[in-house]
Symmetry: C2
Subunit: 150 residues, 2 copies
DNA sequence: TTTGATCTTTACGTTTACGTAAACTAGATG
DNA sequence: CATCTAGTTTACGTAAACGTAAAGATCAAA
């Protein structure tokens, strides 16, 4: 059994920590509701190699691992990773006990991603600063016109 | 003359503060080089109402304002705004001295954007934490195998 | 004047991440 | 048995953000 049996958090799901906490297997509907995605999306992710649910006849049965991977995918998306990038990271994740060289490669990749995210944060700070400045200007204009600003 | 005559910063351009600092008018090539975007992109942005360069005959001549708006567009993009969203913000920006109600609407919009960016930052923090955790696991595995980590 | 570099418009092509509709299957329920 | 209700596959459609190719205009240098 590999890593990544859980990746609970975030506000990505309607109910952050709740519904699937006890269960061991999930239907497609379970996951669409918990994570507010369409069934189409889940099948699409499977097609792209991000999920790999078992089957009971025709129907998909998602494991806790699938669920965790889905959470990971959605988290990755919200921070701007493409599905392809997420898949790559999940693969590196699962390689787990590979060769030393593979581990080093994986480690380098992860470092890159982390640095990229840190840069994103500073980009966000800059834009927030600009938006805040603009807001202040607007507030000032509103104040001049007599209305008490917010 | 409206707001937004400058939006210098960021690592969006090859040379952060430098090349166009003195000039007053820019060719399409100037901007492609300074901001590392294609000419097609600049024409596309114009088509979408994000830029509005003057013409000398057929050729486009970009003002400092165009250049500032371009910087704004690229900054917006890197933090995840769509071009449409950026255009909307630029419009709100330029409305500048509009009605009180318009100002209030603009202010609300800007607040939304800011909150969204703050949420993005916490999302990034979560993912960075996860990636860091994964990296630590890998480092530990590497250490076990005798190689000194990193 | 011919070449060539840079610009232009027009328009079809491409990738990502799904949406949406059609047609089929299987199990539950009146 | 007929009808839902959920699920399935297959496949075409779509929006965003450009890329790329075609064909023509302009201006300077050889």
């Amino acid at each position: 059994m590999t890593e990544l049996e859980n990746f609970g958090g975030a506000h990505f799901a309607s109910d952050p920590e709740g519904p699937g906490a006890g269960r061991d297997v999930f239907t497609i509907r379970d996951l669409t509701k918990e994570f507010a995605v369409s069934a189409r999306t889940l099948r699409f992710y499977e097609e792209k190699g991000l999920l790999d649910p078992a089957r009971r006849g025709e129907q998909r049965l998602y494991s806790r691992r699938d669920r965790a991977r889905l959470a990971y995918v959605l988290a990755g998306k919200t921070v701007g990773f493409s599905l392809e990038e997420v898949r790559e990271m999940l693969d590196l994740y699962d390689l787990g006990d590979g060769q030393v060289t593979q581990l080093k490669v994986a480690l380098a990749k992860f470092s890159e991603r982390i640095e990229r995210l840190e840069r994103q944060k500073t980009d966000i700070d800059r834009v927030v600063a600009e938006l805040t400045r603009a807001s202040d200007v607007m507030k000032a204009k509103l104040a001049v016109r007599g209305q008490a600003g917010d």
